[in-house]
Symmetry: C2
Subunit: 508 residues, 2 copies
């Protein structure tokens, strides 16, 4: 399920003046804001038919559930924003040098060794090491982990929520038309300048993000690569929807969305810029457990080993339980989908046909005064045929989104065992520290550093879990609301249809 | 399905004065009129708790859909009432002599011979030969077939619609408690004096009516004799409901309801009266095709053979088609019943459990601000469990009556082949008449009589079909209204429940 953060609801009718690049909109219509930086009280928007034009700002209400929630979460201390800070480095290129310090102890292999690899990075004199670039302002922002009220450690969130729209899939060809592919238009809400990407570019981005952040942050898989068949159009639509969902989730993540590679993907200037950026990203060495070297638990005390272990176990239990719950819901949802699109509408159709059949039999009676009943019976029969169709079409309107959200979460939860595994391995290594000191393998100072690292990793995991939890609460609130609202409307519509069918019978 | 013609709706609250045999009733309550001949502006009524007492007439509105319809049907000429006639014989015992004239040519066998058996009865000097006794007035009324406007021939309908209430099944024993049986209380709306009958008495009545009227009027079977099992109470309830349906249908029939045997069943004075009446009914000789001797198409011309044949064929086609339609609906209804009480609620229950499970997983997150979502999710889960129960219970509230009505009609329609068969055989015999005259088997005068009889039979069939059609239109109107109303309410209730569940999620 994708949440269009730039959707808006039209409050009043507005009729475009010809030749002014304006867009006529109707009260209640949902439009997509394509540019909100027009000025003069105007915004640029797109309607559901794909027409783009200017609409007065006062005539619309921006749908901003997520922003509203973010605001509330900030106020209640669940999320703490990183305040603008004059001390921030103006030159983000300086920070880039951190890419060079990763002298990985690669030879030793395994997660714990990879976990221990960022010792050297600690030497880098950076107080705030998790870098995010607010790409359209081109200013460097430094994010870190804060004590986020009672919720525990949280990521530093940017004060502007990034989002993007994946739209307009277009067929492209290369090799003189021998090979064809689908290109999607990706438009970030910050620049409003669309860039084009093929599925394989998304896949490239996924690989980079997984490589870079996978140890600390679950990077969910992209939608399946599966090749279509006859339903190409439907498949493209579905893939686009899922790419949108994936991108929205990445945009929402303060660490991921502010990464250089993600911003390159969203706002490269031209083909040359894209190719250079790609090469640079592929050479990035702050990957895997190195990412922990860029995380600073700001003002937070080191955790002790038992606490780290407890937190880790708690998250492990939770993600496993949720994984089971989500999979269970998906199984049931799938079965329900099948019933709602298969046997159930068939049965309503047969009921409808039986009423209509009886009506036509009655019609052949040759009896006077038959018309009112036969007309009403036919109408009742048609009503049940309508209901059959409604039942069959309904899952696309509600169950679909419930399934998509849970599918997304299944993907996300599937990443946690790896993320948690890294932590567990680190904990094991710290547990061995005393023995390693005794046998002279490491120094006492190195033991303290290891313990510090484990503490940092735990803070990162806690920040990530809090991010996960707050998003989960938001997502499940939204999707359940959407599901129940649509279900309610659906049953109300059936009731209304039945009331109408009922009214056609005589009330003698 | 049974239609309680003596139900009434309470229009205003009425508080009983103690010691006056009055009954307190509330606005909107449905009561059953147990005696409307109290006078002085009072009626006697029973509430749903079985309490009986007096209620002011002005405080209630009699539910009288059937009577209203009857009135309308009369006005539009579909049904013509037999006007009170001073010439009616005051002594119904005189008429009884008609029982003695049936010198059946039984030896010849077969329907046509039985059809030809009432030749002698024609000698009886009775212009109006279909006798019905308005038992509570103890006056003889003579019914006949009228030309009923455009609808064609109709039975003469009494000006008072008889009905009865089958209620209060009670266990009785005989042979010193060795044998037990169920006795039902049958209360006719005319006398309001209840009589008791066991199922085997109903069965006895059925046999008598079938014997007497079966050639001209379809007498539907009684509900199954099947022996219960563990669900005795449910079975008794169902049987009572079906006996009520059967009795109501018999009450509605102007010929059947006015018969001596039927009135005996409804209003015998005491055990002696009942036993004597039984013996007399069992000796009745105006049975089988003899019944046609009691039918007089008043003021209607003789039909010609081709017309008789055409009418017969039309009815044959219609009843077969309706039989197919009704059976089809019953098959579909049965399947729908199974789905609604089996897999469908199970699935809603599983959805409900999955939501609740997810809620309890979320609850274990240890994350702040989880409560609103988990409470709402639990409520949503419980809502789907409620829906599961509603779905499972709904068929009893609507589909049940649709099924019962169609079951009744299946029974009725199953009688038509026999009724129509008698007519077809008669037609065949008339067709042979010329040959029979030529070979000296019958006289020309006898040929004319035969043709006259076939015409009478056709009028009887037409009157019966018109009775069937008008009742069918009434019944299907009622049952479809009831079905659609209940279905509409059901879906509205689900929608309401879902709206409530929806409202519990935060609207940030």
């Amino acid at each position: 399920m994708f949440l269009l953060l730039n959707s808006a609801q039209v409050l009043y009718d507005f009729t475009a003046e010809p030749g002014n690049n304006e867009l006529s909109v109707r009260e209640g219509e949902t439009i997509t804001i394509t540019n909100q930086n027009i000025g003069g009280g105007w915004i640029e928007a797109k309607n559901s038919r794909g027409e783009v034009g200017l609409v007065p700002e006062d005539y619309i209400e921006v749908w901003s559930g997520y922003q509203k929630w973010l605001l509330l979460a900030q106020k209640t201390g669940v999320i703490q924003l990183c305040a603008e800070d004059d001390e921030w480095d103006e030159e983000w290129d300086d920070v880039k040098t951190s890419g060079g310090y990763a002298e990985s102890e690669a030879g030793e292999g395994g997660a714990i060794n990879r976990g221990g690899a960022h010792g050297s990075s600690m030497k880098i004199a950076l107080n705030k090491v998790l870098i995010a670039i607010s790409f359209y302002m081109m200013r460097v922002r430094i994010y870190t982990v804060f004590q986020g009220g009672e919720a525990g450690p949280v990521w530093a969130y940017p004060d502007y929520q990034l989002d993007c729209v994946v739209a307009d899939p277009k067929k492209g060809t290369k090799m003189y038309g021998l090979k064809s592919y689908i290109e999607y238009q990706v438009t970030p809400t910050t620049t409003n300048k669309p860039v084009n990407h093929r599925y394989k570019h998304f896949d490239w981005l996924y690989e980079r993000l997984l490589d870079k952040y996978g140890s600390a942050i679950p990077i969910p898989c992209l939608p399946d690569k599966q090749v279509t068949g006859r339903f190409e159009e439907e498949f493209i639509k579905m893939r686009m929807e899922r790419l949108q969902g994936w991108m929205t989730r990445m945009c929402r993540h303060p660490v991921v969305s502010s990464s250089e590679v993600f911003q390159l993907f969203l706002s490269y200037k031209d083909e040359k810029d894209w190719k250079m950026g790609k090469r640079k990203a592929e050479k990035d060495e702050t990957v895997e457990v190195m990412i922990f070297s860029t995380i600073e638990p700001e003002g937070l005390p080191d955790l002790d080993l038992i606490e780290v272990e407890q937190k880790c176990e708690q998250f492990n239990r939770f993600t496993r339980a949720m994984d089971d719950g989500v999979k269970d819901l998906l199984t049931i949802g799938n079965e329900h989908w099948k019933r709602c699109t298969g046997p159930l509408p068939k049965e309503y159709q047969r009921i409808g046909k039986a009423f209509q059949n009886l009506s036509s039999v009655f019609n052949s009676s040759g009896y006077e005064g038959e018309a009112t009943l036969t007309d009403a019976l036919t109408a009742a029969g048609k009503t049940y045929e309508d209901i059959a169709q409604m039942v069959a079409e309904q899952p696309k309107k509600d169950l679909h989104f419930l399934m998509e959200t849970n599918n997304e979460y299944k993907g996300l939860l599937g990443c946690f065992p790896d993320t948690i595994g890294v932590h567990k391995a680190a904990i094991e290594k710290v547990k061995e520290a005393d023995k390693l000191v005794a046998t002279g393998k490491i120094t006492t100072s190195e033991k303290i550093t290891m313990s510090k690292r484990a503490s940092t990793m735990s803070y990162a995991l806690q920040a990530e879990m809090n991010h996960f939890h707050s998003n989960r609460i938001y997502d499940y609130n939204r999707v359940m609301q959407q599901y129940l609202e649509q279900q309610g409307k659906f049953y109300e519509m059936i009731a209304e249809k039945l009331r109408h069918a009922h009214s056609q019978f005589t009330t003698m």
